[in-house]
């Protein structure tokens, strides 16, 4: 009903094959039989291990069947993860032996100690079952990395660890998960769910009791001991420097989201922020001159330029260096424009250089119109009406070039051209 990448001719060949068709009909019968059994058990609110096993089999065949994930969670809560397991639930051998040993204890210990050991038994039983649940999900995630419901169920399982287990034991679950996300992102460096999931796992390690997935409840109470922002920033550095990493839009994106927090946690002052911005611009300059056709780099470059020139929001600083004076901004823009013009000599047909030039010269003009700060120590270069006219002519030339080398987007360039008149 919503399929991707299935070849029509292959599908048609399969449909003509009698043997395959017979097999498919048999599969349909088996699947429907299983699905209706599980649905009937649900209607009868059966919460037992047999029903759980039914969901295991059904979800392996069809992990998109979200209702069955819901049912599975209901069963888990009533059985394996229940504080007091209902009678008749056969637990795995480990838990069974814990239980026997408990019963022995109960005979000759005082009630407080019994309560403590009952709790310890529950913790170790729950730990085991949570691990089993994660193990069940792992191969499913590998086969269906884009299925939202599996990721959801995995998060739910980890959140139960947070809820049920002592903080240190729950913490181990999240730490192990971080290792797994690392593996998944190594296999598919752009996996959307993977990156999203990584941020979620990280925030659960940083703020162990946060429960919603909205990412919004990150309290500002982050103490620097639990913060992983340095580690995550280093991770993006490693990602963008790896083979092909330069084109990893996801990694650059994550980097742009981490930096504001990184700098505030480092308690960077004005000069340190300026230095940081210069280092980032230098990193980009090196990358862009190696491959000026990579749009991921240009996205990041544009973020550096925009956020530090025209949209510095001092209350929630997204900028690296939000306190730059007008003169400093002009110098930075002029330097970037010079670099790009040099680069253009070597790559006259590169649309990204041309686009950036058009934009940054526009920004330069806007910053110039900002009121002058009397305390601004930066010497301003001479700027005459002739200079301004020359910049306008430059932009017209670049835009005309863009129309001819990137005709699909000519509507965009023509619109800017009209704005220059």
């Amino acid at each position: 009903m919503a399929s991707h990448g299935i070849s029509r001719s292959e599908y048609a060949t399969q449909s003509r094959d009698e043997h395959r068709r017979a097999k498919e009909l048999k599969k349909i019968e088996e699947y429907n039989q299983l699905a209706s059994t599980v649905q009937e058990q649900r209607l009868a609110t059966e919460h037992n291990l047999e029903a759980l096993e039914g969901t295991t089999r059904l979800l392996r065949l069809n992990p998109e069947y979200y209702t069955i994930w819901n049912y599975r969670r209901e069963i888990l809560q009533q059985t394996l993860l229940a504080k007091h397991s209902p009678p008749g639930i056969a637990l795995s051998p480990t838990s069974a032996s814990t239980r026997t040993c408990l019963e022995d204890n109960e005979a000759n210990q005082d009630p407080e100690e019994v309560a403590t050991s009952v709790h310890a038994a529950y913790t170790s039983r729950a730990t085991l079952h949570l691990k089993e649940e994660l193990a069940f999900l792992l191969p499913l995630l590998s086969s269906f990395p884009k299925c939202y419901w599996i990721w959801n169920h995995r998060l739910w399982t980890l959140q139960r660890a947070t809820e049920i287990l002592p903080a240190d034991k729950a913490g181990n679950f999240w730490q192990e998960e971080l290792g797994l996300v690392g593996l998944m992102l190594r296999r598919d460096v752009r996996n959307f769910h993977g990156w999203m999931y990584r941020r979620f796992v990280i925030s659960n390690i940083e703020f162990p009791r946060r429960k919603s997935l909205s990412g919004d409840e990150v309290e500002n109470s982050s103490s620097r001991d639990t913060s992983l922002v340095e580690q995550e920033f280093a991770y993006t550095t490693k990602m963008v420097q790896g083979v092909g990493g330069m084109s990893n839009y996801s990694a650059w994106h994550n980097r742009s989201k981490l930096i504001p927090r990184l700098l505030s946690e480092r308690k960077c002052g004005r000069q340190e922020r300026m230095d940081f911005l210069e280092d980032e611009l230098e990193l980009l300059k090196r990358n862009i001159s190696t491959n000026p056709h990579d749009q991921s780099l240009w996205f990041y470059h544009r973020w550096l330029i925009y956020s530090n020139t025209i949209t510095p929001d001092r209350d929630t600083p997204n900028a690296i260096s939000p306190f730059m004076s007008r003169g400093t901004k002009l110098l930075m823009l002029a330097a970037e424009i010079d670099t790009l013009q040099d680069l253009l000599e070597a790559h006259a047909e590169c649309k990204y250089i041309l686009k950036a030039l058009v934009e940054y010269v526009g920004l330069l003009q806007r910053v110039r119109e900002d009121p002058r700060d009397p305390e601004d120590v930066e010497e301003e270069e001479e700027w005459t009406a002739d200079d301004e006219e020359k910049r306008r002519v430059d932009r017209r030339v670049w835009l005309a070039k863009l129309v001819s080398i990137d005709p699909m987007r000519k509507g965009r360039y023509q619109e800017i051209l009209r704005g220059l008149d």
């Binding site: 349909i28 999203m196 997935l213 839009y249 994106h253």
Partner: protein
Amino acid sequence: MASTLLTSKHVAYIQSLDTKRDRLDYHLTSHLRLSGVYWGLTSLHLLNHPTALPRSETIDFVKSCYHPSSGGLGASPGHDPHLLYTLSGIQILATIDALDEIDGDKVVEYVSKLQNPDGSFSGDEWGEVDSRFVYCALSTLSLLGRLGDAPGVSAEGAVGFVLRCLNADGGFGMAPAAESHAGQIFTCVGALKIAGVFEKSLSEDQVNLLGDWLCERQLPNGGLNGRPEKLEDVCYSWWVLSSMAMIGKLQWIDREKLVEFILSCQDEENGGIADRKGDVADVFHTVFGVAGLSLLGYEGLKEVDPVYCMPKDVTDRIVWNHRKILTT
């Protein structure tokens, strides 16, 4: 390769969908069925064959997915309620002018219970949060004419959450700090449009950055992708294009090449549109291909509403005309 839209093939294809019970796919996709009906019905309306699916059976099917206890709708009878399918059900009933067949108050109650304190919405009682669900909630409420007076719903809170999903590249992600993605952009821009706050929420710079990010999705073969460095896919003809239409930047891409790309993904023999040329067609890519063509002004198609992905005359009747009266 087809150079025109094979309307009658597509109509026949959609009509045949419910008869394919001898294929495993049919059974494996029951968790999508109600959305499937919405995709098929919308395609048919845009193709100017609004009565090709029997009306009373369609209403009966929607009602069979309704959970009277919660007020939500599931994907098929016996499937749990979820915002995704609640929206599909309401879209279907709105399109065939049958909203009075369902207890609107109860549906509003279902939706309102899913809003979280931070303004976001969960997809269902299990709590998954995604900016898509804000769209589902606001779209459902507005189609029921209850956006302004749904008890317990904070439209302001919802807008606040959507804006926290806005990125420096002008796009939106599934949660704050998540990477921009065309599908998410459609739902976030759509949510802001439904709430009537898009214009005052984004600056001119932000709209230009968004438009630029979107128009860069067009690849040399004319098709659109959903994120940088990804492959083209017909469904992005909708997510990208509708977003461009909503911000008034449709003219920033090459119309002819995109039309050609969508047409090349048609199954000329059996009807339907696939994700890419030569792949198996499905009703999901069929509706987004047809709706994309409609936005591009392709001849003979009914006008589609880029905010709702429904026929424009329907949303005018239910939402926009009413709103004009309210604001003037």
